[in-house]
Symmetry: C2
C-alpha cells in the first residue's frame, strides 16, 4: 500500500500538483466507500478531519479522475457515483422499477464494444457505461 501511495504521490508532484491531507482523505474515502456521491465522500472525510469543504471534494475528485485514481458513472437523476480506480472494471445496469444497480463485468458488454469499434471505430468507455431498463424482479412496462 505504501508502494501504491508512493506511486500516485509521485505522479501528482510530477504534474506540478501538491500532496495535501484533503487529497489523501478524499481518495481514501472513495476507496473505502466503493460507490459514493461527492456528498457521501464529504461525510466520510469529515469523520477523520474537520473543516473540509464540499468544493474541495469536487475539485479533488476531478483531479483524481484526471489521474485515473477514481472514475465516475451516472446511476440516476442525482449526483454521480465515484469509484476507486483500483476496482475491477465494470459497467452498471440500473432498474427503473426498483432502482437496483447491477454491476456487470466487461466481458458482458464486450459484444457491444466490438460492434461499436468495428462499425463506428468508436472506443467505448466501459467504466462509464450505464444501461437503464428493467430487472427480472420488476414487471414489464405496460
Amino acid at each position: 500500500m505504501s508502494a501504491e501511495n508512493t506511486e500516485w504521490q509521485h505522479e501528482l508532484r510530477a504534474r506540478g500538483y501538491r500532496l495535501t491531507p484533503q487529497r489523501q482523505l478524499v481518495l481514501e474515502a472513495v476507496e473505502e466507500l466503493g460507490h459514493a456521491t461527492p456528498e457521501e465522500v464529504l461525510t466520510e472525510v469529515r469523520r477523520k478531519a474537520q473543516g473540509v469543504n464540499i468544493s474541495t471534494v469536487y475539485r479533488t475528485l476531478e483531479l483524481l479522475e484526471g489521474l485515473q485514481l477514481v472514475t465516475h458513472a451516472h446511476l440516476g437523476h442525482g449526483a454521480p457515483t465515484y469509484h476507486p480506480g483500483s476496482a475491477p472494471d465494470h459497467a452498471h445496469l440500473v432498474c427503473r422499477g426498483c432502482d437496483r444497480v447491477i454491476e456487470v463485468e466487461p466481458v458482458d458488454v464486450a459484444p457491444l464494444v466490438s460492434v461499436l469499434e468495428s462499425k463506428y471505430a468508436f472506443r467505448t468507455d466501459v467504466r462509464h457505461l450505464t444501461v437503464f431498463g428493467e430487472c427480472d424482479r420488476c414487471e414489464p412496462a405496460t
Copy 2:
C-alpha cells in the same frame, strides 16, 4: 396527420388529461427539432405563441413521455435531449473528444441487449442508452 393527432388527443382525454394549446405546441416543437433540450423547446414554442413558461414545458414533456409521444436521453452534462416518439428507435454514442453524437440503430446494440436479457433477465431501454467514449476522428486517450 390529423389521424395521428386524433389518436393521441383521444388518449390524452381517456386518461383524464386535457388538450391545451401549450401541449400541442410542445409536441410540435419536439417533432420539428428532432433533438432538443427543454430550453430549446421553449424557444421554438415561443416563436408561435407568447407567454409560455419553462415550467409548463417541463410538465408537458414529462406528460408526453408518459404517453410515449416523446423520449429523452442524456447526451452530456447539461440538460437532457428530447426526441419525438415517432422517430425510429436509436441509441447514442457520444465522443468525449469532440462531443460528436452518433445515432446507432437498435440492431447495433442488439448483442448487448441479448446478453443482458439472457444473463441478467434485464430488459434494456435502448432509446435511453447513451454510450460515452471516443470517436475515430479523435486521438486515443493518453
